[in-house]
Symmetry: C2
Subunit: 163 residues, 2 copies
DNA sequence: CATTTTATGTCAGTCTTGTTGACATTCCAA
DNA sequence: TTGGAATGTCAACAAGACTGACATAAAATG
C-alpha cells in the first residue's frame, strides 16, 4: 500500500468518491420513481401499490408471505394495499388448494394494464440512462448495486433473475 | 441496426436488462438505507432527519429554501424535522443578517457527531460494494446514476460535487 | 413615503404507508 | 385429538409526506 500504483488503484475508494455514490443514490432514486409516481397519482395509488403490482406480475400466483419477503414490509402493511387492489379488481385472489391458508395472487386484465403503464414509464427512463452511459457502464452499475444489497435480498434478486 | 454487430451492442437494452436494473435499484436502495436506519431508530429519528443532517453538514449555513430544493420535499414537511433537530440541539439556527427572513442552518457538535456516525455506517457499506465491484464498475455505476436523475437534480448533484 | 406584492418560514390538519398487537383459520406434529 | 406453528385479517397508532392558512420581512410600485 506504499507504492504509487496501489495508491492510484484505491483512488476510487476516497471519502469523496463514497460521498458521491451516496448522494448519487439519493438523487437517482428520486428520478427512478418520479415517472411512476406521476401515473399513480392519477389513480390515487402510491408506491406501495406499484411495488405489489410489479412483483405479482413477476411471480404470478405468489402468496402473501413470499411477497412480504421480497417487499420487506410487514404483512399488515401489505395487506392494506392488497385489499384496495383486490377491491378495485386489479388483483385477484385464489385460495390455495393444497394449503387453504394461502392466498395466491394474480393480476387481472386491468391490473396487467396498469402494471404495463407503470413499467413502461420506468423502463423508458432506465433505457435512456443505459443508452447514455453505454454497455460497460451498465455492467458496472449492476455489479455495484448487487454488492450493496443485504445478502438475503441478493438471493431474492438472483432468484427473480433465473426464473 | 440489421447486422450482428449492432444487434449485439444493443443487448444491454433488452427488457430483461432493464427489469434487472429496476429491481436492482429497488433492492439496493434498501441495503443503502439499512445501516443508518438502524442507528436512527435508537434515537427515534427517521430517514428525513438523516437527509437533513447530511445536507446541512455538506452545505453549512444553508437556508431552508435551498435545503428544500435539494431534498425535494415541501417546506412544511422539512419544517417538522428541523424543529425537532433544533429542539434536541443537533442543529442551530442563525437569522440572516442581510435578509432577516432567512434562517441559516448549522450542525452543533452533537449534530456533527450523529451525522458522522450515520455517514460512517453508510460509507462502510458503499466502500465494501465499491471494493467488490472494482474501479471500472464504480465509474459505470456513477454514470448510470447521473443519467437517471431529473435534469434539475443533476445540476444540484454537480453543484455539490465541485463545492 | 405608503401600500401592495413577493418571499421565507411556521402552524394546523389530512393522507399514505409504515409499525405493533390481537385474533381467526388452517395445517401439522406429538 | 389436541396444542403449537403458520398464514392471513382487523384495529389502532406513528412517521413523514402533502395542502391550506398565516405571520413576518423584503422588494416593488404608486
Amino acid at each position: 500500500m506504499q507504492n504509487d500504483t496501489s495508491r492510484e488503484n484505491l483512488l476510487f475508494l476516497t471519502d469523496e468518491q463514497l460521498r458521491q455514490g451516496i448522494e448519487g443514490m439519493f438523487f437517482a432514486y428520486r428520478g427512478f420513481t418520479a415517472d411512476p409516481d406521476r401515473i399513480l397519482e392519477k389513480y390515487n395509488y402510491g408506491r406501495a401499490h406499484h411495488r405489489a403490482l410489479h412483483f405479482i406480475n413477476r411471480v404470478p400466483g405468489t402468496n402473501v408471505n413470499n411477497l412480504l419477503s421480497i417487499l420487506g414490509v410487514t404483512k399488515q402493511s401489505l395487506n392494506r394495499v392488497l385489499r384496495t387492489l383486490i377491491e378495485h379488481e386489479l388483483v385477484s385472489l385464489r385460495i390455495g388448494t393444497k394449503d387453504r391458508r394461502e392466498r395466491h395472487l394474480y393480476l387481472t386484465e386491468s391490473g396487467k394494464s396498469l402494471e404495463k403503464q407503470l413499467s413502461t414509464a420506468q423502463s423508458h427512463r432506465m433505457r435512456e440512462a443505459y443508452r447514455q452511459a453505454g454497455p460497460d457502464a451498465v455492467a458496472g452499475f449492476k455489479q455495484v448495486l448487487e454488492a450493496m444489497m443485504d445478502p438475503k435480498l441478493q438471493v431474492a434478486y438472483k432468484k427473480l433473475r433465473v426464473s
